[in-house]
Symmetry: C2
Subunit: 438 residues, 2 copies
């Protein structure tokens, strides 16, 4: 309970919207933060690409370093805040240098933590320096702390959620407006909800970075980004969303992880996929750029954490919360369990899991197509719960056939679709979307 009165001195690497947000937050809420942290948190130095750029905050009071790695060498800095981004390059160099110098590191960099988190945590543990990355997952939602401290007494059965605000904005806007993917993406880019190069978001990679971090903390396993199976949202059509709606579902990009005991030992399942989410499930009400994470513990039951998944304010809130933890000297192992004790669990083969699926085909409008598809389902061992063939399309003579399957092995769906491969009745690859269990 002793509160050292010396301020916690920080350096910020990267002065984009988040870096500026952190400077603004620390100034605006300085009194509250000092009261809660037991001491002041002071920015002493900054580094960015362009010193002269007008950022709307005065950086003149702070020392400037052209080379952000030099921040790590400053004697007057206790913690480096890395807000540059990118899994490697300057962000990684600066982070390694900070931890190697025994300084604390706070970062919002999900790509770097997903790829190099174990190495960085090892460095932090070796030099007894704090490493914290609340802002790397789900923006302002304290979900890293939620898993590390809130559900810490539980064996988790499952962690899943909506981890990418861009995809969620696109999908919920498609739902609301009936517009198609490309049009909504363009609008999202114009409004600043999607990057100029949106690939990382819409292909599911960003969500996969976050999922790999959550899984490591939730299950006490080594971060395994390479083990995440990833499908993005680019193939979801307005017609799929309309069809899902008619069946009582919305479509959301969901990242999910669990650990399953198999005869061959424990297996870590991590995947990011667009899913059908029944109305009534807490994730179905998550709209726009909001994120939400569900953790199911063996004693806590289902817990939901929801809030803004991005933006300068929420991300700065998470960065500053980490700084307060450090100022309070409440730190501990970056992944909740020391790196040496994290379990190395091989990735699961999802083929043996069972689930219900939505399967959509674009087919040529000619006799016998339905018989061909349903025969393939039968031969693959897929049991059809309902099937809808839409009326003839106006152009091109393609029609949509959508079905919902009974619960069954995922491998059977793959087998049934393999039987249809190369069929000239199909116009393009079918789309398979799992139905998230209530």
């Amino acid at each position: 309970m002793t509160t050292p009165s010396a301020p916690l001195r920080i350096a910020i690497a990267g002065l984009g919207t988040v870096g500026v947000g952190v400077i603004r937050l620390l100034a605006t809420n300085a009194g509250i933060i000092a009261a809660r942290a037991g001491r002041r948190i002071e920015v002493v130095a900054v580094s960015a690409r362009d010193r002269g750029k007008d950022r709307g905050v005065d950086i003149a009071p702070f020392a400037w370093e052209d080379d952000m790695t030099a921040l790590a060498r400053r004697d007057d800095v206790d913690v480096v805040v890395e807000l540059v981004g990118g899994s490697d390059g300057p962000a990684l160099a600066c982070s390694r240098a900070a931890l190697a110098a025994g300084k604390g590191l706070v970062t919002a960099n999900k790509a770097m933590i997903a790829h190099h988190g174990l190495e960085l945590a090892g460095l932090a543990e070796a030099s007894n320096a704090p490493l914290k990355f609340e802002a790397a997952v789900a923006g302002g939602i304290p979900v890293i702390k939620g898993l590390r401290e809130g559900t810490s007494a539980n064996a988790l059965t499952k962690v899943y959620g909506i981890l990418n605000g861009t995809c969620n904005y696109i999908l919920s806007t498609m739902e609301r407006t009936g517009a198609d993917f490309a049009a909504v993406l363009a609008e999202a880019q114009a409004r600043g909800f999607a990057e100029a190069d949106p690939a990382f978001d819409i292909e599911g990679v960003d969500a996969a970075h976050k999922l790999a971090i959550l899984a490591a903390i939730g299950f006490g396993t080594r971060v395994d980004f390479a083990g995440v199976r990833i499908a993005g949202i680019t193939r979801v059509r307005a017609a799929d969303i309309a069809q899902a709606d008619a069946l009582g579902f919305v479509i959301r990009l969901v990242g999910e992880a669990d650990v399953e005991e198999t005869p061959q030992g424990a297996r870590l399942l991590q995947r990011v996929r667009p899913c059908l989410v029944a109305r009534g499930h807490p994730l179905s009400a998550v709209d726009g750029p909001t994120n939400a994470v569900v953790a199911e513990g063996n004693f806590s039951g289902r817990l939901l954490f929801q809030g803004a998944g991005a933006g300068d304010g929420p991300t700065a809130s998470a960065v500053a919360a980490d700084l307060i933890d450090i100022a309070r000297d409440e730190v501990g192992a970056p992944f909740s369990i020391p790196v040496a004790n994290l379990a190395a669990i091989p990735p699961a083969e999802p083929g043996e899991r069972t689930e219900r699926s939505y399967i959509r085909f674009m087919v040529k409008d000619r006799p016998g197509v339905l018989a061909e598809i349903t025969a393939a389902m039968r031969d693959g061992g897929v049991s059809i719960e309902s099937l809808i063939q839409q009326g003839r399309s106006a152009e091109g003579g393609e029609v949509m056939v959508a079905m919902v399957t009974h619960e069954g092995p995922e491998a059977n769906v793959a087998r049934a679709l393999a039987l249809l491969e190369g069929s000239d009745s199909l116009a393009g690859d079918p789309l398979v979307l799992p139905i998230l269990p209530l």
Copy 2:
């Protein structure tokens, strides 16, 4: 990062369902807990009223104390876990003794923390002993940690939520079945969702205990249970729920707190009331015994924490998470800010707040009643947005008149209703329910 290998030794006072749940959790998840806490957590002693009672767990391995205060005197105990309940009496005596002896205290006792939390936190701070009470608010949801650590960098504009599972179960069951309050309460008692003496729950006192604790942590103020304005759910009728439904709302018991700057200085508003919640608001989807807390921060934006608000498993999960924090030596001030620095803020006068309201009258079915009511509204300064008079009731000749007001000062509603006081057109007091802003 050094992890002392000596186990954390705990004593449990109170072996009801939660106490037994804690014993079971610590045994079931012992490996995970030791990995995350850096050391084992061991039950060494217990105390309860009846030693011989069959509880479904074997308490023979633990030392027994007839007097729970004696647990605090044992040299082999580091932390006392108080699960007896009641704001005073043995729970308080045992808690005081534990902290005075320099031992840690973990409790699920919301009444005790709401009434004596400042005294206990003072004792804890004086003896540098940990005091933690995550389980006292919202069961298994880590909302104390959420405010203390997750939103710590924010000035909160508002904290509110559904804090009593019994009330939420009753209201959402009334909504689903159309049954009246008394019938649903009886069913809830039969199913174990309501106590034999339900007054603390249905009158809003339990929610008020939790709200007072949340407000103290969220706003850095001294706990002020006496300052909470409380209305319970006993006057909500099936007809109100049906009427709200027709208007696009559900009814939920909501506790809310904020701090407002007035010309006279800061004022702390704390109140617990049944509210109309628009469908589309995150709280409207919170059904059954679930709890949910919303915290709105000036940088984080709106954060939602949702999960099981009670039950042995979720409550044990919260208790054990506190024990893990203590085992990790991550403790800090019980109310986030040391007691001496918590602000003493006088309670707000809500009359000057503006809101939309739902007002329901039961009136005698005779000419002129509507004119009398609407005249009083006009004279009180209340602007009516919509008004519905239901058809003649089958029995007693009473009919229901319900209205929704435009946003206006709460004091005006009170003034209008005062004008109707004593009118023999009214059958009973009107019911005023605020409409929660989206």
